[in-house]
């Protein structure tokens, strides 16, 4: 019936024959590419028509819980079949193609190491399964890279959460892959472990690797990733340079609630400031809406002092990620 039925959906020089604005052509030389990728479970759409290309450096896959981040990572890693679209690793499909694992490492979120193995044994096992010429040397190198040399001969079952995370990374990079995928690598880590992990990932990115990690915590992505993909409800809500997205996030309207020694006088002082476009006094609580987050933050102490009011409490009301993401999606 359709005149376009014989046209290829994708391929070199071909253009997507169906609806939708995006031409469906794989980018030559791309390390990782998703092209019109969707995934559904029964009637539930987990990932909806996502396309992006990953280059070297650290990319953060940012989104609230349940947004579809793991589904995307698993499709890239060839552990889930896309319901629609193409997931390509260096131009080859990732589905049912074990050859991609020569150049790809995956660090899953779940505890996934046999607890009876020592850290070294786990790395060595990965090296052997990669058929490396000298598995022992590769294992020692990977263990040293993640800073587990001192604990290498202890069983993984005795490791802390952060160490277990690192031993998984050792297993994933024992064959020196150029593509590394990490699912929520900072989960359950203390601040020091987080810092070490960030340094490690930054170092690996400096070596020219393609690193994609998922996180639901804005600050983690901000500190580590040059590029960011924001996923909300299975859709790509924003992508690109982090500073640009951060600016979008900061420039959106913010609402603060305050308590002060004299709410009424503070409200009068605030309403005259250009950064404020709404003030409300309601049941002993003062809420202020501003369109200029930074300007408001700078002006507030001076305004309060000039009015002789001391601020007892200042609280942003919509700083949770859901509302930030929600705002990005609406745009």
């Amino acid at each position: 019936m359709s005149p376009n039925v014989d046209a290829p959906l994708w391929g070199p020089g071909s253009v997507h024959a169906g609806r939708g604005p995006a031409p469906r052509v794989l980018t030559p030389g791309a390390a990782v590419e998703l092209l019109g990728v969707s995934r559904w479970y029964g009637n539930v759409v987990a990932v909806n028509d996502i396309s992006f290309v990953l280059g070297s450096g650290v990319t953060g896959l940012l989104g609230p819980n349940g947004a579809g981040k793991s589904t995307i990572l698993h499709m890239i890693a060839g552990l889930l079949r896309p319901s629609d679209g193409v997931v390509a690793i260096r131009g080859g499909s990732s589905w049912r193609n074990p050859a991609i694992y020569r150049d790809l490492g995956l660090v899953p979120e779940r505890e996934s190491v046999h607890s009876f193995l020592t850290g070294f044994q786990f790395a060595q096992l990965n090296a052997r399964l990669q058929r490396l010429p000298d598995p022992d040397a590769a294992a020692r190198r990977a263990i040293a890279t993640v800073g587990l040399t001192d604990a290498a001969d202890r069983a993984v079952g005795t490791y802390s959460k952060g160490m277990r995370q690192r031993v998984k990374i050792a297993g994933a990079l024992v064959h020196d892959p150029s593509i590394l995928l990490l699912d929520e690598p900072f989960n359950g880590m203390d601040p020091r472990q987080r810092l070490q992990m960030m340094e490690l990932l930054g170092r690996m990115a400096d070596e020219g690797r393609v690193i994609l990690f998922s996180s639901h915590i804005l600050e983690e992505v901000e500190r580590l990733a040059q590029n960011v993909l924001v996923i909300v409800s299975g859709r790509l809500a924003a992508s690109g340079d982090f500073r640009e997205i951060r600016r979008l996030m900061t420039d959106r309207p913010h609402t603060f609630t305050m308590r002060s020694s004299d709410d009424r006088r503070l409200a009068a002082a605030l309403v005259g400031h250009p950064s404020v476009f709404g003030v409300q006094l309601d049941q002993g609580r003062l809420s202020v809406r501003t369109s200029d987050y930074a300007g408001f933050a700078r002006a507030l102490p001076g305004l309060a002092r000039a009015g002789g009011v001391s601020i007892l409490e200042l609280r942003p009301t919509d700083e949770d990620l859901e509302s930030v993401f929600g705002y990005l999606v609406q745009r």
Partner: protein, 258 residues
């Protein structure tokens, strides 16, 4: 010698050996293997008690009860069920198999390595137990023919059961429960009642092959023809292995709660 060893470590063989060694360690390292070993010793212990009470030679019925009811109908399928479902299916469920799947290894090699271990351990536990119990009870008269028949039959039965349950664990996450129902309801009750169901009964394959070795030339109307049983056993093993390979090749990780 040393140079040959290091070259061999790059070949495809050692990858299977590596996977098999890990699987064996994982299966034997747990408390359940001790439990299974005790279970395997149970028929041997009972056989010794029967022998000491002086009834063994006189009463073939007690011998049959131990060999058939205890070993072939209970011990054999349960041991194979535990090893068959734990070798890969359980690791896919708990996530410990993921690191194995993201390796440049054909999925059929993973199936072969893990299935070999599941079969090997099942046979290693069941066949000696049935040989020793059979020898003590003097199954099939004097000499060891009856014990050998029991050992060969249960070895083949363990291979079929382990392969079928291995495949089942790749088809469903409830392989242990479904396997138990199959053992209790199908093999335990229905296959004994209905004639036509014999060809689908692994217990029948085991008993028929054992009987043919123990008493060659004697045909038992309650059992399958031994050659038919052997062919059916091979068909079941191949079919289950093919299903397992196909399932693993297109394995999809469970929906994460990301």
């Amino acid at each position: 010698m040393a140079a040959g060893g290091s070259a061999a470590s790059r070949g495809p063989g050692p990858v299977k050996v590596t996977i098999a060694a890990l699987t064996a360690r994982s299966l034997l390292g747990r408390r359940r293997s001790l439990l299974l070993a005790l279970l395997a010793l149970l028929p041997v212990a009972i056989a010794i008690l029967v022998r000491l009470s002086g009834k063994a030679g006189a009463d073939q019925e007690i011998a049959t009860a131990i060999m058939d009811r205890l070993i072939v109908t209970t011990l054999l399928p349960i041991v194979a069920l535990v090893f068959g479902t734990a070798a890969l299916g359980a690791e896919l469920e708990d996530g410990t198999a993921v690191f194995l799947l993201v390796k440049p290894i054909d999925r059929w090699r993973i199936v072969v390595a893990k299935l070999t271990v599941a079969i090997g351990l099942s046979v290693a536990l069941v066949a000696p137990a049935s040989f020793v119990a059979g020898a003590i009870l003097g199954v099939g008269g004097t000499g060891l023919t009856g014990a050998i028949g029991a050992a060969v039959g249960t070895a083949i039965g363990a291979t079929v059961y382990a392969t079928v349950f291995f495949a089942l664990s790749l088809v469903t996450g409830r392989a242990l429960a479904i396997g138990l129902i199959y053992i209790l309801v199908w093999e335990g009750v229905l296959a004994g009642l209905l004639d036509g169901t014999r060809v689908f009964s692994i217990r029948q394959y085991t008993l028929s092959i054992s009987a043919a070795i123990t008493n060659p030339g004697v045909t038992d109307p309650n059992l399958l023809d031994a050659r038919t049983a052997l062919v059916l056993a091979i068909v079941a093993i191949v079919a289950a292995a093919v299903i397992a390979v196909r399932r693993l090749a297109s394995f999809e990780i469970g929906q994460a709660d990301d």
